[in-house]
């Protein structure tokens, strides 16, 4: 076992994969600088900087994959995916279906995402719910180094297009590049266990979906991805002091969604709290409530999400992003609602049961 940062883990897994498979190529803006080590080892033919032309090079990634390569296309921030959304929504996601399953798009799109460092609402979004909505693509959001390296391998091995979303608060080089810029002493509330951790000596993929129960809980089940997982773990500690036994599930992939693991936990607790750095409405949080209902469960439900455009001002940004205090508040509200039973679903002013 070795210890690595989140960014090192991704690079290490990529090194391993690229050394054994010459079909893997990396391209995106500035990759000769941002991926300098890969560039030095594998040369410019496999690690190639692009013009600032997201719609062209992401679209090219789709057919490069159809043509036999295993491209890893880098989109610097998920906000910029909007510029090239056509390549994903209308092409990458459609080829397998349109070809009757005869042609696949084994492309990885590596995307930085997430906020918490004061870059404003056009450079700090999550957007995984938006992207996961389209059938035909997978979306993974690792929350720690070991998962980051393993999920990168999973993404490369997968025959479907996979969006690999790395959170900027966990990837130290992104924080250095975008937030610090050489300054020291600035604090971003980086969850330590997410930014650095133990990783295997040799990387192996993990199947998608594979949600992980990080903490078993009797009273309620908290679910999230990325940094929100760490906020939930922090909240769980505080809730334990209040006598509330809260479990935490790291989904690891937004699409496909590990319904079985989530529902198995909910069957025990009957209470679901989703903490999500993506937008509140029409996204992951509501989807989790829906799949629980479809499975015949009627958990009491709360969600702590981003409800508006992320403010530039860091003091307000911290309040808009899910934080442990908001999660604790939502959890105590859930606990104050009577445990719902399948026969009589309870309403309170705080808790809207999605069953109604």
């Amino acid at each position: 076992m070795r210890e690595m940062t989140y960014a090192q883990a991704i690079e290490d897994a990529l090194m391993q994969a690229m050394a054994s498979d010459p079909r893997i190529v990396v391209f995106g803006e500035d990759v000769h600088a941002i991926r300098m080590n890969l560039f030095a080892r594998f040369g410019e033919s496999r690690v190639r900087p692009t013009p600032i032309s997201e719609s062209a090079f992401l679209g090219a990634g789709v057919t490069a994959a159809m043509g036999g390569l295993r491209p890893i296309v880098e989109i610097m921030m998920v906000d910029f995916v909007a510029v090239a959304a056509d390549a994903l929504i209308n092409h990458a996601a459609k080829v397998e279906a349109f070809s009757g399953g005869r042609w696949k798009v084994p492309m990885v799109v590596r995307i930085a995402c997430g906020g918490g460092y004061g870059d404003g609402g056009q450079h700090e979004q999550a957007l995984w719910g938006l992207l996961a909505q389209v059938p035909g693509m997978k979306v993974v959001v690792p929350s720690n180094p070991a998962d980051a390296g393993a999920l990168m391998l999973s993404a490369i091995e997968d025959e479907a297009p996979v969006l690999f979303m790395e959170h900027k608060l966990l990837a130290d080089y992104w924080l250095d590049y975008l937030a610090d810029g050489g300054r020291t002493g600035l604090d971003y509330q980086v969850p330590e266990a997410g930014a650095r951790g133990v990783v295997p000596d040799t990387w192996g993929s993990i199947p998608i979906p594979a949600a992980q129960v990080l903490r078993a809980g009797r009273d309620l089940t908290m679910v999230g991805v990325g940094v929100a997982v760490h906020r939930c773990l922090e909240a769980a500690e505080r809730l334990a002091e209040l006598g509330i036994d809260a479990g935490v599930v790291d989904l690891r992939s937004v699409s496909p969604l590990d319904v079985d693991t989530v529902c198995a936990e909910l069957a025990k607790t009957q209470r679901l709290l989703v903490a999500d750095e993506d937008y509140k409405h029409f996204g992951l949080a509501g989807e989790l409530a829906a799949v629980a209902l479809e499975a015949g469960l009627q958990p009491a439900f709360q969600r702590v999400c981003v409800e508006r455009t992320i403010p530039y001002d860091r003091r307000r940004e911290v309040e808009v992003l899910p934080n442990a205090a908001r999660i604790v508040d939502a959890a105590t509200m859930l606990m104050s609602a009577r445990t719902p039973s399948p026969l009589s679903v309870t309403h309170t002013s705080h808790s809207r049961s999605p069953g109604h």
Binding site: H32, A33, G181
Partner: protein
Amino acid sequence: MQSDGAGLYALMLRSRRFEEAVADLWSAGRISAEMHLSIGEEGIVAGVLQHLVDGDAMALDHRGTAPLVMRGVDLVSLLREFLGEPDGLCHGMGGHMHLFAPELLAASSGIVGASGPAACGFALAHQHLRPNNVAVAFFGEGAMNQGMLMESINLAAVWSLPVVFVCKDNGMCITTPAKKVTGGDLCQRAEGLGAFAISVDGSDVQAVASHAEKAIRRARRGHGPSFIHATCKRPDGHFLGDPLLRIVRNPVGELKSKVGPLAKAAASVQGASVGRRAASLGSVAAMLTRAGKMHLAGHDPVIRQAKRLTSAEREVVEATVREEVAAAVRAAIDSTEARA
């Protein structure tokens, strides 16, 4: 039209001193995250903006501070915005990349190339509502490879929109040399899309002003869009704390953590041929050499213009600007500290 050299000098110097103050606040950790300044580009911005009148619109990129300063936006409200304060220009919601001033029809975006479509829309509104007004789009040469910007030049041409597309070319697309990622010639590209194209040395504000005057006159007369290609040097790189410049300025400290992994990667068993690896390392070295040449030297538009003035003219401008910027910084900081 104001054509005096001292007026252009004052526009540029005000922006320069203001952005230097912003850089100090950023370095002190009082401004968060990315900070893209226009230092080195002032000749281009001032040369174009001095021809704007009430009702004209500006579509700005992620370097919107200088244009807003030159159009007269209150310096304190800009600083308060960068400090994230509720009484800032955009109530602390946007920050420097997302500045909006509706009274000036000025809108910014941090999405590369987005100023193209934005200028077209403003110009379309002008055609209907303000037939003598124009819209200016500012962007870098890196944005010229963005589909939406190329589409916008064509749209402006076929609709004969009063747009002036202003390309500020420092030769670097973020940290990638423009030559490596740009095919053909940018003026020819713009001409091919139907715009009237002009090339100018952006460090000579009077040359920019004279070309911009023609472009803006064409637009006001309904003769359609122009494309001004203006060269410049930007000593701060892409943004404050540009990683390449940090390495150039502090090689020992900055490379300490990078050389080990880089050497290990370059020497790993499986990978590209020795020749290709050597080419990669050569390209990394060349990238740093280029970064080392980003300084302004003889291309500083402010200094070039200062040399055209008498010392008496310079001193008047300098004293006024120094006092104004210092007072703005004091006011912006004081009101934060008064609240604390």
